[in-house]
Amino acid sequence: MELIIAIRERLRRILITVQEFSLFTVAVLRATFTPPFHATETVQQLYFAGIGSLTIVVLTAAVAGQALALQLARELSNSGAKSELGHFMVISVVRALGPVLTGMVVASRMSAGITAEIGAMRSSDQIDALVAFGTDPMKRLVVPRVIALLVSLPALTIIGDALAVGGGGLVGLQYHLPWPMYVNGVLKYLTPKNLLVGMIKPFLFAIMITVVACWKGFGSEGGAKGVGASTTESVVISSVGILVLDGVLTRLVFRLLDW
């Protein structure tokens, strides 16, 4: 009997959490597309999210792209199909690996930063102070971060993809694949459909990362320990969320495009 009560209570809490998160997401989306907008705060967040994440994205994309290209080039070369390296790099980087890798790197950095900052503001009454001075925390704190990531994550994904695919060409040279042949392969498969599959993801990842990070920040309780726990949860949820969302989106897009 106690077990049933415990399970029922657990389910009730899960449902309440899902409801709260859904309402928060709707409120964020509504606030994001309605004025007023805090321009200065948005520009600061754009700098933090975009320029601040550039180094780790470049580094990760270059290293991961090179490793992937090495694996592919070796296998394709052995089977006499090294001319297909560009084709395989576009499919694997632009459609799958690029958005996920960039999303994960940016999520780990931004989720932690956003949750910790908002959580610290919550525990020191700064959020209540904003409300007391007539400022909507959703507009002041959440919307600039959503806009910043909506702009910067797709841009960072493009940069990461370009570096990874470009690096593939350099690896191809080591396997005696001429640069023009590699570029032709890349351009042939850089179709609108492939780009659509790859570029729809960062926009949705951006919304998911910021909504989760802000929600966890606003909900953090219990001082430094609570902020630390919320920050950890935020990074874990965002990272796992990216993988889950990637799987769902890939299936959905494949079905919609009738692939």
Partner: protein, 273 residues
């Protein structure tokens, strides 16, 4: 001006306040006294409309704020300044940006006018003008509280001021500066105030009337002298450490040195022990 009628408030099934009623007249300072966890700060959050009660009504200038939508609440808040526990200064902004926050955010004033207002309020709370570009974490606790008071005052010159434990954690000198400032704001500027504290000396110094809370219920409501003379065991127990401290301070004074007692009329008054 402010009236709470039979207010109940609970959170996550835990009762915080039960049947709380009191009123604050224009230009009066009401002190809410009580041990930690008795629901003192919750009353300020209710008055600010940051949380809503389960039942009862809260009237500000005759308008029940428990029934208002967020937009109207925002308008009401324009007449209320709140000094949060520990100041709650925005740590990513300078002192000047903190004080001018409300004017920069919602006002029509130009930068020069905002800066002039910031400097005026810095001087009003007894701080140097050259602190304007400092960050909050470069200031002492007492200075941070005074910046918080300046920020509350600069926000459209509020008629009501709410202080949440404004002297907690401060040294006696800084604490005295803050309470002197609160008195000045009441006596010279006619501000209506509600101050939450667990410091009895502060309560007797600034309060016209005192409300004492115990586990979310009002245990005492009246004048400071009446609290001093109250025979209730709970109040006796709460005042005992303070009485001991005052008695010890008097024993240390040279003969005839006890003449400097404050003039609130209470046998307990006399500043921070």
């Amino acid at each position: 001006m402010i009236e709470l009628r039979d207010v109940d408030y609970s959170i996550n099934g835990r009762t915080i306040l039960t049947g709380v009623s009191f009123s604050v007249a224009r230009g009066e300072t009401r002190v809410i006294l009580g041990p930690s966890g008795s629901g003192k700060s919750t009353i300020l959050r209710l008055l600010m409309g940051l949380v809503r009660p389960d039942s009862g009504s809260i009237l500000i200038d005759g308008e029940d704020i428990t029934q208002l939508d967020e937009e109207r609440l925002r308008q009401i808040r324009q007449h209320i300044g709140m000094v949060f526990q520990q100041g709650a200064l925005f740590d990513s902004m300078t002192v000047g940006e903190n004080i001018g926050f409300s004017l920069l955010e919602h006002g029509q004033e130009g930068e020069a006018e905002v800066e002039a207002a910031v400097l005026r309020h810095l001087v009003l709370v007894g701080l140097d003008e050259d602190l304007i570009d400092r960050m909050p974490d470069e200031l002492s606790g007492g200075m941070q509280r005074r910046v918080a008071i300046a920020r509350a005052l600069a926000a459209r010159d509020p008629r009501i001021l709410l202080y949440d434990e404004p002297t907690t954690g401060l040294d006696p000198q800084s604490s005295a500066r803050i309470t002197d400032l609160i008195l000045e704001l009441r006596d010279s500027y006619g501000k209506t105030s509600v101050m939450v504290t667990h410091d009895i000396a502060d309560a007797f110094k600034v309060g016209n009337r005192i409300t004492m809370l115990d586990e979310g219920r009002i245990a005492f409501d009246g004048l400071a002298d009446d609290l001093d003379r109250s025979p209730l065991p709970l109040i006796e127990e709460f005042l005992a450490p303070f009485r001991k401290a005052v008695a010890a301070a008097y024993r240390r004074l040279p003969p005839g040195g006890g003449a400097g007692r404050a003039s609130t009329g209470s046998s307990l008054s006399g500043g921070t022990p």
